[in-house]
Symmetry: C2
Subunit: 312 residues, 2 copies
Amino acid sequence: MRLGPVPDVVVYEVGPRDGLQNEPEAVPTALKIELLARLARTGLSRIEATSFVSPRWIPQLADGDEVARSAPRVPGVRWSGLVPNEQGYERLRAAGLDVAALFISASETHNRKNVNCSVAESLDRFRPVAARAKSEGVALRAYVSTVCGCPYEGPVAVSAVVALVEQLLALGVGEVSLGDTIGVGRPQQVRALLAAVAGASPLTRIALHLHDTYGRALANVEAGYEAGIRTFDASLGGLGGCPYAPGASGNVATEDVVDLFEGGGVTTGVALERLVDTAAWLETDVLKRHLPGRVLRAHVGARARAARAEGA
Amino acid sequence: MRLGPVPDVVVYEVGPRDGLQNEPEAVPTALKIELLARLARTGLSRIEATSFVSPRWIPQLADGDEVARSAPRVPGVRWSGLVPNEQGYERLRAAGLDVAALFISASETHNRKNVNCSVAESLDRFRPVAARAKSEGVALRAYVSTVCGCPYEGPVAVSAVVALVEQLLALGVGEVSLGDTIGVGRPQQVRALLAAVAGASPLTRIALHLHDTYGRALANVEAGYEAGIRTFDASLGGLGGCPYAPGASGNVATEDVVDLFEGGGVTTGVALERLVDTAAWLETDVLKRHLPGRVLRAHVGARARAARAEGA
């Protein structure tokens, strides 16, 4: 693929990891690898290939080593993998990925439920990984969950998020992705959070990771962009929700973010039609159910109408 | 119902008209009447009860006269009906509704496909209705369709929308609702449109009527609010999409708009839980399919989990 000019925003694809880890049944390894190959041809520059969390916790991604090794190394695409600890980091290194992604929560209870230790203990566990990454030239990303609210504690203090961002940057993390894990954030809240975070870090090192539980993900993307954020996590087709509650809880859909920006004259470097093709393949040939992405539904519907009109 | 303080924004419920007119099967009259009664108990202050368009064109609302007569007249609720011409206006008067709602398109082709005449001819047809409404003390609302784009013509000139707003206000219309009929609008575009419209009308007389085809409805609501709009049309549960394409094309969901505002400290006067109850009743007992509203799905999911936890 010829590389074009640098786009205005980066859309960071997390579907193969944050999406597929929530599927009730593991997707066959060969199809995961095909998904990565298809995504690498859409113009996406950052893709999270898989997770190196223990298969005991996430059996859906137990094949992370093989999937990561098979991610096509093409110019312009950087691959990341989720890494819980040094063991996970070893696996990421063995598979040869570019970026190790750590994860931690802004709320104590969520962190404890997720990884069975306090936020401070999580930071301590990151230290050996961060030291190795630095000496071995591996880039670090960190996800901070529950920045707009916690399912157990409710509201989360902005100061807790800011403190975590500072500590993660001090550890050598290059990019911190702020996650509204349960989708409760509102534009006004996102603006206030980012104004506070901007006091601790240049916003070029901050990404937003938004879920669409209450339909506000794109409103929050827009608020984030206006505030100066230029990297947005998203998931193909909105993958990552609960398949038993249509439309609920998923990541914001990659196509929806790309279409929001491109139509408004903000470049993403991503070819929307290829992305839609890939999402349509994923729902039809792999998952065999509708994904919640709105642009996907609209395009699939328009294609079906056009096909019927041709046949009529 | 005791009337509380004046809310910051008006959420204008159009589901019984703009939603039910798109259902493939007509909803039984008694259930429509029950829907209006339930909506009138949620705190909504403006509700569109039905349409007085000819049953030949919209058989789903052929019972408009009976439904409108049965809308409960309770303090704090004003009822509107859609009126295509003088005949429709007569029916609205006979049923005793408060507000006559006219409709016209900002694009010539859409207007012609919709009502088989030009935009100028539509305005001419409005004149006798407007004259009677004025002399009889009936308020007028007007819907302007395709303000962000037309399915036949593509982009629609901002100047065409501004000219229509001016002409409608000159006719005596009290409130103009600007409709993004196909959901293609983006926040930046909404801001530019409203800046231009504000030169022709105080924004207190302008409402926004947004569809969520591409997931951007709430982002556009937010942009509209920031620009000064204080009235937003919405449809219970996001009713109004095509039921064969889940998630596509519906009106923005009333619950999603109410939750966006209330959680951000902007009052709507609407009790969210009652609205969710009504939407849950509508999908379970009346339509027997899932509606696209995100807040509805999230609440229904949370209630199911709570019920399972109690039973366990």
